[in-house]
């Protein structure tokens, strides 16, 4: 009888201990995931509004996941969040894309997608659209731990300044 009671008490202690170990493990795991995730600073929708209202883009309009997929071959699952301001028509090259990374390891494939897009457009306009070609050649890129940015446009440097001010906050 006494042995049974002792066994049950032992079971209770072991159960509590196991649950504590599991809880602590989960807490550490969550903490590590959050550590990876800290520092997301800015609402991209607000940034899009700010850019569109700045008047620094003449031939561009807000894009979407579909335009990113179409132009960069990037599915929504490949990135965390994105802002795309797309060229208004086929003769325009003014464009901004900001990608927030899911994982740092995704940066390379996204960087390659940016380069591919610019190079394809350069091929299209080479010996044909001088202004567009020049803009593409002076396209600006920036990246930090969380974001990759590419800006093409007449006011690229001023636009980049706005973007960096926001996403580095």
């Amino acid at each position: 009888m006494e042995e049974t009671t002792r066994k049950k008490t032992g079971d209770k202690l072991v159960y509590i201990l196991l649950m504590l170990v599991l809880t602590v493990s989960v807490v550490f795991f969550v903490k590590s995931r959050l550590k990876e995730a800290v520092g997301i600073p800015y609402d991209l929708a607000a940034l899009e509004q700010e850019i569109m209202e700045s008047g620094l883009l003449e031939e561009a309009q807000p894009g979407s996941e579909a335009t990113i997929r179409r132009n960069y071959d990037l599915l929504p699952s490949a990135y965390g969040e994105a802002l795309h301001i797309a060229p208004r028509d086929f003769m325009s090259v003014e464009e901004i894309i900001i990608i927030r990374l899911n994982e740092k390891s995704d940066a390379e494939s996204i960087r390659n997608a940016f380069v591919r897009r610019t190079e394809n457009l350069k091929l299209t306009f080479e010996n044909y659209g001088t202004d567009q070609y020049d803009l593409l050649c002076s396209c600006l890129r920036y990246e930090n731990d969380l974001y990759l940015v590419s800006v093409t446009g007449h006011q690229a440097s001023r636009l980049m300044e706005i973007i960096r001010t926001r996403i580095e906050r």
Binding site: D11, M19, L22
Partner: protein, 460 residues
Amino acid sequence: MVFSSNIFIFFFLPACLLIYFLVPGIRAKNVVLLLFSLVFYAWGEPIYLFLILISILLNYLTGLYMERIPSWRKGILITGIVMNLALLGFFKYYSFLLGIINSLFGLSWTSRELPLPIGISFYTFQALSYVIDLYRGKISVQKNVFRFALYISLFPQLIAGPIVRYSEVEKALSDRPVTPERLGTGLMRFSYGFAKKILLANTLGAIYEKTRFQLESVSVLTAWIGIIAYGLQIYFDFSGYSDMAIGLGYCFGFEFPDNFRASYGSKSITELWRRHHMSLGSWFREYVYIPLGGNRVGTFRYILNILIVWGLTGLWHGAGYHFVLWGLYFGVWMLFEKYVLFKIKHFPSVFAHLLTLFVFFFGFGMFQSATWEQAVQSYRNMLFLSGMPAWDQSALRLLVTGGPMLVIGGFFASPFMLHTREKLMKDHFTVSAVISLFLMVLSIAFMVSQDYNPFLYYRF
């Protein structure tokens, strides 16, 4: 890893089947399945393997100690449920909850959205069914941790359902038939599902994607073509994945429950949801609706129960207000059917069918959207409120190029096709085998050349 990928079709599945059939005895087969399942889960996001192992351990211990310490059964059950929901809640709803806190208290806490561990909603619900059924005495405790791990992580249904209850596979975990006939039948079902995903869902999805370009400036017709294409894409994608899962399960000796029964052939939303994502519906009925009192309560409480269940169903599908609203929309409509529509005698069946489809597809305006703003914009487009014309040149072009595919999709979603497939598999094995082989080859050819092959379950 996903089923509709080269790595799965050309390497993972053949290797798994080969080794599974070569090794003798259920115990060894279980080990093979468990190892392959863990590799399947870890593929692409190995960090989250830790999470599923935690979930396995948590629920295994919960079951074990519920039996060992009978006087603590209730406490252990509550602890298990709370810990399961905490894991799901954190990884799936973290950003959503933070947004609520921000708006409630005027804060501006910011966070990076964590990548959602794939399939967490499915395996957490499976685990919950185990601990609750164990508490209710409906099943006996699984003392073998490897068998339990296999139940939670079994790769055919791990990332897209169906949600399999422990009672449905309890016996099969220790003793199940593994025969060449089952392998053949299972692969047939798999290839039908694979064709649904690759040939129908992806093609319809490509039509839908065209309507999402410049959401603010599409005509009403384009918006409706988009929503119909999306509704059909979702059906074929989800039911295709379920068919693949059921087929694979059958190959390995398991019998998973049906998940879709030609739901778009229903004559009411109530009926539709009994035939659409059935394993989720029955989960909520068993573990939420009935414990709340079901329909054996007063009218007010009954209405509340329905709204709670459907609000939660919406929330299960995604972390956002518009998902909750999407769920509630169906709850309200079902109440409307119960108290008004079902009381109308001689309600024309064709009209009932069309109304059901309209209501269901209309709801996709919320479901398809990533944000609340997008959902509002979709409805503005569909309801002539965005100031755009009823149709334009691009809408007509889309209708001509995509219209036939919508008709084909409608045909293949009909009950006639379901019954034909079932009859073929049951009574005309050879014909069915030839058809499925043809579909498999065709689908693989499409898959390797397709640039649009989305995985829609990353948010579940």
